[in-house]
Chain length 116, copies 3
Amino acid sequence: MSIRRIGAGARMSKAVVHGSTVYLAGQVADKSKGASVAEQTQEIVGIIDDLLKEAGSDKTKILSAAIYLSDISTFAQMNSVWDTWVVADHTPARATVEAKLAAPEYTVEIAVIAAI
Amino acid sequence: MSIRRIGAGARMSKAVVHGSTVYLAGQVADKSKGASVAEQTQEIVGIIDDLLKEAGSDKTKILSAAIYLSDISTFAQMNSVWDTWVVADHTPARATVEAKLAAPEYTVEIAVIAAI
Amino acid sequence: MSIRRIGAGARMSKAVVHGSTVYLAGQVADKSKGASVAEQTQEIVGIIDDLLKEAGSDKTKILSAAIYLSDISTFAQMNSVWDTWVVADHTPARATVEAKLAAPEYTVEIAVIAAI
């Protein structure tokens, strides 16, 4: 099966397509870092939309999502954005846990696997 | 490749089948929340058995498992249930780390990917 | 699709091949446990190289990597080894978060998914 890398850099790629599956890197909110979890989540899902489009997919085809929150007490705040973004009946399997992220200004990170 | 969602809700699906692979959501123990890690693990592997069956798979076909423990000192306790559940020589790749979960009553969460 | 398990044990397998995808267990540094994050990362990427080879893959075909650091302040130290190991333009999607690992002597754990 073919491999196609999107935004391939020296350290990582933004997304990697393998056959009919695409793996996205864990996305953080560079523009809104330091802002609220809701704002960061909003930026992140926008980045995911763009990367999925570039891969030939979209949010109705997400298979699995891993969500990391630097403070699990922001679970509801993250969900307030997530719930309006995902498409009912086309929602992915999901796991959400607390974990500190690469820098303290990042409070949410989302990594998804999607179908093409 | 076809996508089939099991237990699709407004926020997430319990499992998503893509071709010959199924991605399960991170499972927690709703009935035994607040109980011991062993009891919660027992409930979780039962839920995973049920979802794998509904997907057309079973525990001998698990490819990968991510296990999150809210307290890594319960590693042996989780394993005491895990080791009796998995089938020798049909065990998945596995990663186990400590992470706080959605609510403090949940002390273990398991997300698996399996073949159909 | 066929399933082939590498290093299958009673608790987990070191790697599981499913069709043209291989899932590696989260690798830790047994020989250099207690040593620096850089040394542990060096041991881990060596183990990953060996497992990928056994699976019929190599580091240019890694699709996705999950990296867990017991102390996120060692992010740069881990990257110093990672960046020399990966092959530019063949880099995986990646997510790095902080999480305590199975024993305090382990300070980094890496789990990858690769194409065959």
